[in-house]
Symmetry: C2
Subunit: 270 residues, 2 copies
């Protein structure tokens, strides 16, 4: 999917919401638990219920891998069920030496046909480059994450620039791609940091997790993080997919997603 296509969708739906399908088996509604294909049934119902309020889905591989081969099957089937005009992200946080990263790129862009994959930057340029070689695919590199552990390394100050590690990550990685094939993960609990982030990467789309369950403010993120063509994809997972754990889970997910979309429509300047 190109940036133009993504922006067109945001404009049409007045939403920059991504629904995170973190469909942890033990958290599924009781009436589905233990049934064959419980996760797939759950995901399909959530997708049907929310697809008009979001521009895409983020599938975190951890929740599928933990079920082994069966989980990978469910991930593949879930991806195939998502309407093709929606943006799909494998939230996989992969990264390895060059020839190995090339295999991960093949996994998510060819074997599985996601539009985007999240990548960890620790190992540097040759670990990120193979993902960037795909046409009309997106590499989403971890910048500043929303968890407490982001203080351990991401927010450490580097000697030669006085900048924090994540700022240097944004700066360097930005030079390896373009705003048309590269995005960054920026944790929503740090809305105050968005101004300095936008100084470094004024045009790149940001994937912002941490709204809802992780406590970020959608208003702050939107006012500090937006670009003229939106430039934000805000992900919410548990707050939508587990809005109810009863038989009305899909209706509750639709209500939650619609609420986000309505709020977003108020902030959107497209």
């Amino acid at each position: 999917m190109t940036r133009e296509q993504l922006v067109a969708q945001i404009r049409a739906k007045k939403s920059y919401l991504l629904v995170g399908l973190d469909s942890e088996v033990s958290k599924l509604p009781k009436h589905l638990q233990g049934k064959p294909d419980a996760v797939l049934t759950f995901n399909k119902a959530v997708i049907d219920a929310t697809k008009d309020y979001c521009v895409g889905y983020k599938i975190n591989t951890a929740f599928y891998e933990s079920e082994g081969v069966k989980g990978w099957e469910t991930m593949q089937e879930t991806l195939e069920y998502i309407p093709k005009n929606l943006f799909t992200i494998a939230d996989a946080k992969r990264g390895d030496i060059g020839n190995t990263s090339a295999q991960y790129a093949r996994t998510f862009f060819e074997t599985m046909q996601f539009d985007a994959v999240t990548v960890a930057p620790y190992m540097g340029e040759d670990s990120v480059r193979p993902f960037l070689e795909y046409q009309n695919k997106w590499t989403i590199v971890l910048g500043l994450t929303s968890n407490a552990g982001s203080q351990d390394f991401e927010q450490q100050t580097l000697a030669n620039s006085g900048k924090q590690l994540y700022e240097v990550v944004l700066e360097k990685v930005a030079s390896w791609g373009t705003p048309n094939n590269l995005m960054f993960v920026v944790g929503a609990t740090k809305a105050s940091d968005f101004s300095s982030i936008r100084n470094i990467i004024p045009n790149h789309f940001l994937l912002v997790p941490g709204i809802g369950a992780q406590g970020g403010s959608l208003e702050e993120v939107s006012s500090h993080g937006a670009t003229p063509d939106c430039g934000l994809l805000v992900a919410a997972s548990r707050a939508i997919i587990f809005a109810s754990n009863g038989e009305d889970f899909a209706e509750a997910a639709a209500v939650a997603a619609k609420n986000y979309a309505t709020e977003m429509a108020g902030y959107l300047k497209l």
Copy 2:
């Protein structure tokens, strides 16, 4: 597997070799290509041929995921084929926020029953902790990798300590675990750095890739990196599994593995 059990194996085999099953489909011997279960057939033959010369196997998930669901099946079947007294590493380089890392830990320690998994440190403490909570399992955190990209971030100097990022990673992560549940990846092409690394983590086992195809020297690694109970696991992949791409691939793998083991026996002070 406990540290004592691992060291006992190293002592018995006079080897600290890990064979990396980076069994990329396109690099398999011609006579296997296109056959059903080609990778599994290849892996089983390599395991049969090399298991007397190594103390374990490292399975890099990228080479399996790139084949999708079928690849995960092959990974599971390969793992099950490895004799239970050998050490098994999922070289997965995972890492995410706490509840998600817990799912990855479950994937590799429960669903798949590996002895160890490699973890990327970028996201900090809560992304690493869930792996460390398992008894008799090992978390192997990326310290200094052997690729060119290690200069981009890993080798950047931090302001408040004057240390390089990877040194701070070793130091901090070491405080979250013990030498009995935590190891570090240290790239073998940097043998000169081993002394400073051993100042920071004198007792931890190091997983050393980069011998062979990536050009590290086994002698340097062994003389600078060893602890009194060895403390090294040296991985070689392509140099062993693709030693021949003819029908004699398994015999050639055995010869290559035996050569490493013979050299290691000369360095080992156990």
